[in-house]
């Protein structure tokens, strides 16, 4: 890239900054409020730790999460294996560490599928109104009336039990909330004057929906996604726990808790550590999501 290109990029950035000054100020103010909320900061720290562990898993442990060592089965926590070993002699700490990758992968993929599908459907339905709105919202209602864990169980039983199908099953259950949220938001945004201004300038429907209405719907969607992340990790682990999710020997937290079920009375460490790891990861997302909601919801400021 030449100097000219760099310069024109800077010019573009300057122009963008002036054009979006109000938005940026609002963003900075939100960030400022967020930084003052200790609970959100704790959440952020927990999430960062979780991400760090997931990314650098191979450097954090010398044990293979799948390799068995039957002569050391059910060994209690010691300095060599701080979380102990499970019923097949696998190092629990390294399984917990690698398990964070699985949960993170499920969480991110599900959110990406569900939030995108739901938001687009909701915004389009809300903006167009009429029969399309009615149809989309009735379908949303049907999915919402569904006991989602049971639907996810049935779907993964239908498709075959695996990690990939867990993602599909939870994704199919998760999108309706986003559709509803985005639709509600769209209904109020679409009445605003700036939308009318854009429309009178002759912008196409597609342009109005995707460049003007959609961005206005994002803040509550982001809050929902953050809070949802925790719920998805829990559901995925719940599926793993009852045997409908990822299959052994994958180091998935739900399976690990289920492994320790028969030993819980004596060999408590088998179930306890993966559960604690999950609790802190989920808590992180909930703390941050809760803080974000307070910051983005002006009624609670």
């Amino acid at each position: 890239m030449g100097v000219g290109a760099g310069k024109s990029f800077l010019q573009w950035l300057d122009r963008w900054k002036t054009e979006h000054e109000a938005m940026l100020d609002d963003f900075k103010y939100s960030l400022h409020l967020l930084r003052r909320s200790p609970l959100s900061m704790v959440g952020l720290i927990l999430i960062s730790t979780f991400l760090f562990i997931a990314v650098f898993a191979p450097f954090l442990t010398k044990y293979d999460p799948i390799e068995q060592d039957l002569s050391n089965r059910l060994q209690p926590p010691c300095s060599e294996n701080p979380f102990g070993r499970d019923q097949l002699g696998r190092d629990i700490m390294s399984r917990v560490i690698y398990g964070s990758r699985i949960s993170l992968r499920i969480g991110i993929t599900v959110i990406a599928i569900a939030a995108t599908t739901g938001t687009v459907l909701g915004v389009v339905a809300g903006y167009l109104g009429g029969r399309i709105d009615e149809i989309v919202m009735r379908i949303t209602d049907m999915f919402l009336a569904f006991p989602s864990l049971i639907l996810a169980m049935a779907i993964s039983a239908a498709l075959g039990r695996s990690l990939e199908n867990t993602v599909v099953a939870i994704g199919m259950v998760a999108w309706p909330r986003y559709a509803r949220l985005a639709r509600g938001q769209t209904l109020s945004v679409k009445e605003e004057q700036f939308i009318e201004a854009v429309r009178s300038l002759g912008a196409s429907r597609k342009r109005i929906i995707f460049s003007h209405v959609l961005p206005q719907c994002l803040p509550p969607i982001i809050v929902q996604a953050t809070l949802n992340m925790g719920g998805i990790i829990l559901t995925a682990a719940g599926l793993g726990f009852i045997g409908f999710g990822a299959q052994p020997p994958i180091p998935e937290w739900g399976i690990m808790i289920s492994d320790g079920r028969n030993f819980i009375m004596r060999e408590w460490w088998v179930s306890t550590f993966p559960g604690l790891a999950m609790l802190f990861a989920v808590l992180g997302f909930n703390l941050l999501g809760d803080g974000l909601r307070d910051v983005l919801d002006p009624r609670l400021r």
Partner: protein, 337 residues
């Protein structure tokens, strides 16, 4: 639109939604590549036996015919026979449903009794220590995996401390009461067996607490935010400047209006408790719908799964309907429609 028309419209909407639920379960269960007959008879069964059973269950007919047939039977209260228990599903469900309702109701009572006060304290002391404490507590509630907290609490309170009994609806040396209503608590009182009643309650403490914890969190959260909104309004300022004590302002003036959204959340949560029961029941050996549906899915018993799902969705939709109607009834500002 008047009130009656609103209720009617809401009822029609519920029927449409339920029809959709039936369609979804039907499609999901018939896309299943695995063969339910094979699961029952095993891989060595002769072909003619398989054919005969397939014909008997109606599995050899075209999908749309099976669907019409299914809906027709549903409307007549005929849910079919379970492949696993070999009994009419409706009997299985009638046996299991009261246990789940009992457990969810107990959870809801715990959740309401702890959640609402927690929310009020949080709102009145916003951004102070009690607020932080109660928010962390309720966030913990929604972050806890029930299947894990259930196990840990069992280990502590049953195995280590021996304060609470083993999993199951009552101790194994006791006999169940004759089924009149199907609710063990009610039936045991009918025959005057107070010992069994108390034993049953004791067995319910842990699962009800574990199951209710997440609802407790969302009730506290909702009470907090609606209280905050109400406390900021002018009529509260007026009540304070009139010289009323803070107690009277909070409990007499604010709480009543702040309760409306909380009631909604309670209704919605009751529906999801039924679902949360799936995992809780598995851990606490509770003989309700949760254990039933898990077993049914494991045995590829589609009819039973579809029926249970429908029953849960029906209960959930009824809860929603009741909440919506109550809401319109409680808050005269709401326009029906």
């Amino acid at each position: 639109m008047d009130f009656r028309a609103y209720v009617f419209r809401r009822f029609l909407l519920m029927l449409i939604v339920l029809f959709g639920v039936v369609s979804i379960t039907f499609v999901v269960s018939h896309v299943i590549p695995a063969d339910p007959i094979g699961a029952i008879l095993g891989p060595k069964a002769p072909d003619e036996v398989i054919e005969k059973l397939r014909h008997e269950w109606g599995l050899d007919r075209p999908l749309h015919e099976q669907f019409v047939n299914y809906v027709w039977n549903l409307l007549h209260g005929n849910l079919g026979k379970s492949i696993r228990t070999n009994r009419p599903i409706i009997l299985d469900l009638m046996e299991r449903f009261p246990d789940t309702i009992e457990l969810s109701t107990a959870s809801m009572i715990i959740a309401v009794c702890v959640g609402i006060p927690l929310g009020i304290v949080s709102a009145c002391r916003k951004d102070k220590i009690p607020d932080h404490f109660s928010r962390v507590f309720s966030l913990f509630g929604i972050s806890l995996p029930v299947f894990w907290s259930g196990l840990i609490l069992l280990m502590i309170f049953y195995y280590r401390l021996n304060w609470l009994p083993s999993p199951g609806p009552y101790s194994t040396n006791l006999r169940p009461p004759p089924a009149v209503t199907g609710f063990i608590s009610i039936d045991s009182l009918i025959v005057g067996d107070v010992g069994l009643f108390l034993n049953h309650l004791e067995h319910m403490i842990l699962p009800a607490f574990v199951l209710g914890f997440s609802s407790m969190a969302s009730i506290a959260r909702m009470t907090r935010s609606s209280m905050l909104e109400v406390l900021r309004q002018d009529y509260i300022k007026a009540a304070r400047s009139k010289g009323l004590k803070e107690r009277a302002v909070v409990f007499k003036h604010a709480l009543r209006n702040a309760m409306i959204p909380t009631v909604t959340i309670i209704g919605l949560n009751y529906g999801s408790l039924l679902e949360g029961a799936v995992l809780t029941e598995t851990i606490f050996a509770w003989p309700g719908l949760g254990t039933y549906v898990t077993d049914a899915i494991l045995y590829l018993d589609f009819q039973a799964v579809m029926s249970t799902t429908l029953l849960i969705a029906l209960t959930y939709s009824l809860c929603n309907l009741i909440v919506d109607v109550l809401y319109a009834f409680l808050d005269p500002r709401i326009k029906y429609g």
